[in-house]
Amino acid sequence: MELSDNEMITAIRSRNEFLIGKIYSLYRSEFYSFIRKRLWKSEDVLLDIYQDAFMILCNKIFENKLNESTLKSSLKTYLFAVGINLVQNINRKKGSLNKENIDDLPDIMEEESGFDEENDRIIQIAVYSMGEPCHTILVKQYWEDKSGDEIAAEMNYKNKDAAKTQKYKCIKKLKNELKTRIVYRS
């Protein structure tokens, strides 16, 4: 697959599932040997680290924090730097600060999320187990980037306002459910 970094960013941003899959595969084995040689030995954890790094990269692109003009290195270097940060976070938690010389990689700080890992897990499970039509509406809105008109047409709502009202109800229900379960940081 011959895609430039900009083309890859566009593919991820536009949720081109085929190309996202190919980009995931493209760097997988190289990432493995890179991290295994320097920082990590366990194969199972390595897969988790790569998948987390790849999802962080995609999210940065989805949220437009990483785009054609903010990318200062190659996309591969960026992805590897995210992976190294993840490994160092794990090592830090384990108390082994075996810092590798990674001067040639950009320093990518994981942005402070409003929630800790446990809360993220609770939110993830709530989204996974959402019933219909809420799950489909949220996927169409936040993954497929469909407009109110498109959602209304595809899901047989009278008009875009009806679709938006349904989406609002779904989000409200989800938020109310989550507010009783998650703990905010002070």
Partner: protein, 213 residues
């Protein structure tokens, strides 16, 4: 409810980056002073992330399955190729051996001597080399090719007197022994030797066999 709906839409626009610069700056100011709004934004952002994560995980899972299947196919193909290669080698080897054995079977005849050799009135007794020759043929007939070859090679390279068999007979049976053992090249060298000797009793046989080889 309408107010809440508008707020939620505002949060959506703030999070997907579709606000104008002025709108964003104004919203940032509100966020800095309104802890409840901050919580709403954080929660909505976390929900959006969770929706996207679910979809990314689906893609990754599908891709991992493809990778796994490809790796399994690679192993199967490698193993399969090896098996096929081994089978082909075996097949050609068996074919080669069948051909050699077949020729040996068609050309080999038990060695017989019509009468015990004599010198004048004196009946001669077989020499040690004669015994070796018969032993070699016995080995050959019973399928012990290597011992047969070893004995015949020994005779072929020595010049000891023999009553039972000529040097050409030794060459002929040694070439057949080579053939039976799959050593075509060695057999051919001896057969060419016999075929080139006009006086040899094995000339015609050697020529015929060479033609078939």
């Amino acid at each position: 409810m309408e107010d809440n709906r508008i707020l939620e839409q505002e949060i959506d626009r703030y999070l997907d980056g579709s606000m104008t610069r002025e709108e964003k700056q104004a919203f940032d100011r509100r966020l800095a002073n309104d802890a409840e709004l901050r919580k709403e934004v954080d929660l909505q952002q976390a929900i959006i992330k969770a929706v996207r994560k679910e979809q990314l995980e689906r893609i990754i899972k599908r891709e991992e399955n493809v990778i796994r299947k490809r790796n399994i196919r690679k192993i199967v193909i490698s193993f399969g190729s090896l098996a096929i290669a081994a089978s082909l080698v075996g097949f050609f080897y068996m074919g080669y051996m069948n051909n050699c054995e077949n020729l040996y079977g068609r050309y080999y005849q038990s060695y017989t001597i019509s009468e015990i050799p004599s010198r004048g009135d004196e009946k001669l007794t077989f020499t040690k080399s004669d015994s070796i020759f018969f032993n070699a043929l016995q080995n050959l007939e019973s399928g012990q090719n290597k011992p047969a070859i070893r004995l015949l090679e020994e005779l072929n390279s020595s010049s000891t007197e023999m009553l039972a068999a000529s040097g050409d007979a030794i060459k002929w049976y040694l070439s057949l022994a080579y053939l039976k053992n799959g050593q075509k090249k060695k057999a051919k060298i001896l057969l060419h030797n016999l075929a080139g000797n006009n006086l040899s009793e094995y000339k015609s046989k050697a020529m015929a066999l060479l033609k078939e080889l």
